[in-house]
Amino acid sequence: MNSHALCTVQETAELIRSGKILSLAGDESLLAQLPRGSWIAGTIPYFIAEDGGVETREKIFVTELAQADAAHIQIKSYTIDTIKNIARDAPENGYTVLILPATSPVHIEYANRARDYEDMFIKPIVGWISGVHLSDLGKVAPKVANGAVGSLLATEAVAMHVALPDNKMAVIHILNLFRQNSAGDVITFAQTGFSATTCRVNGAEVVLADYIATGKLNLALPLVADYNGAQINTSFQDINEATRQVNFYAPVFAGIEYRQAAAVGDYVHEFEALAQVAHTEIAFSCNCILNYLYGELQGRKTGDLNGPVTFGEVAYQLLNQTLVYLDIQTHD
């Protein structure tokens, strides 16, 4: 079997019983049928699979974690009070796959503060934000599952810590279609958070919703910050017209300079080209639901980078509109 593939409940259960170390994604009703074992999961019905983007509540996306064996893994659930230990708990050499339920307090806590956690950035943490079918937004709670104890969790995160031998090294990569518009305004925020009413544009305080309306900003184009060469997105969610509050899918951070992304010529074809990148042994991959929607990825392939389509991506910290993958390198 391909180590990144859609499987039936029965096929997934057989993999669990055979002792495979798995990261899973699927509908809650399917995950609830699985036996206990060495697996973690999150809810979502959208995937990038072998035949391209697909929506299904009938199958589970199975990622068999590379270089993982039962003697060198640890599965842990994290609450809003314990998530700060995530990197400290991770092995000295290895990686962590983390899944957090969308809009839960632990998701918000991680998004706002993970970059300040002890050992963050020293140890590779990759993962995603679980979600629901878009028609179920606000009606069904996204969940994660800890396969070791067989529980579905709406308010906790779940992590698989994987230790690697000394000659292996886990390296996180991102593929981002967006670049800062270098001629665009510099936008800064006074406070960190998932929403903002005011901001500074080239140093002058403005009402962000007014700035968006006046400039006719295309909200499909995220705000982008330059992290020493990495382009890091914060995507627009919506504008509350009554309060003039602008909401985002990840926090904007005080002290970071943003510019809106430059326009993308052809979202679909440029994303296809971006996915044809060189990589070695892919342990894990996920892609944002906004890329799935705006990039019209249903039925389209993104190279061999298959995985769940998510409500947010984790590459150390929470990202938006980004494809994330984990590469296991061998250094003999």
Binding site: I122, Y227, G229, I256
Partner: protein, 73 residues
């Protein structure tokens, strides 16, 4: 690798050394560190940041040869 006391490490963590890399962990680590330190950092905070970044380079020395060559210039 440069000694931890070399001024280049202080310049790196405070953002004074213009530095580009394609290692995502290092990119994020440096951005977080320089943002946290701000424009007028206390010497003790800079030394703590240097120790953290130096530790990162020690751990990932195998895949950061290009970056180490830039810092060592």
């Amino acid at each position: 690798m440069l000694d931890k006391s070399n001024r280049k490490w202080r310049e790196l963590v405070t953002g004074k050394l213009a530095f580009r890399t394609d290692n995502l962990g290092l990119q994020m680590f440096l951005k977080q560190t320089s943002t946290r330190l701000g424009g007028q950092p206390a010497p003790a905070d800079v030394e703590k940041a240097v120790a953290e970044i130096y530790g990162f380079f020690v751990k990932y020395e195998r895949i950061l040869q290009k970056e180490l060559a830039i810092i060592s210039k």
